[in-house]
């Protein structure tokens, strides 16, 4: 990433460098597709996906909710600290 920062800084006046925003999105979609391949190829995981998926979803929602709740609590304690 730091190499990229150097390249980006050197090319900052080149108009074509803005296309990187589009290629970033395409790379993310490719990564998600590859992640799907890993999950889909695991037969044990696929056969128990409903059971494990439900438990994982609960933990994901709580983890996400916890971080959001903490950010809101910080915004109460530190004024503008938790929100832009």
């Amino acid at each position: 990433m730091f190499l990229g920062v150097g390249i980006g800084y050197a090319l900052r006046k080149v108009r074509g460098v803005k296309v990187v925003g589009t290629t970033i999105q395409l790379t993310i979609y490719a990564l998600l597709c590859l992640l799907g391949v890993t999950v889909g190829a695991n037969s044990y995981l696929v056969s128990h996906l409903g059971d494990f998926g439900g438990q994982a979803l609960l933990l994901a929602v709580l983890g996400l909710g916890g971080s959001l709740a903490a950010t809101l609590a910080l915004s109460k304690c530190f004024g503008k600290g938790g929100r832009k």
Binding site: C33, G63, R83
Partner: protein
Amino acid sequence: MKGTLCVIGSFAIGCLAGHLCGTDMGAQDISLIALYALMLQVGISIGSNKGLKDIVASIRPQNLILPVGTIVGTLVFSAAASLVLSRWSVFDCLAVGSGFAYYSLSSILIAQVKEPTVGVQVATELATIALLANIFREMMTLIFAPAISKHLGSKALISAAGVTSMDVLLPSIVRCSGKEMIPLAIVHGIIIDLSVPFFVSLFCSL
């Protein structure tokens, strides 16, 4: 909406391809290369930003509070999951939660550290749940990024992203909250990244 459909569609197509082929076709190796490519592109995006110097100068010590909030909030709520999931102890739930969306590392660590004490089967099950839970966290944050940023603020979006605030979610953070959030998102991601091996190993050994 189009972006959300692309996210879900990409993952679904991958799942179908992996299931039909019965092999991951070296997807994890390719993912690693793609992740490096993503980091390079994110770096180019940051470096080519004409306001880069102003962004670096805008970093404040109080912004370091945000990663602590992310860790405490996630762990407290993850511990609460053990009240519902009777099969897993509070430390198992904490180990899964302390992945902070770092699904690859957290699931591998859980499988390795838990195996000597609970056996291969249980360790693999918990590792699978960790993989899915942290994938879900990343995908939910990707999908709801605009809503989180709009209703709860830019810092809430960075916190929700967990470790991915410095890579996968960084473009969404920039799009929803502006390039001025880049320094905070990267500092947040680095601190959370460093905490994952520590917390996962700690909770797996308790």
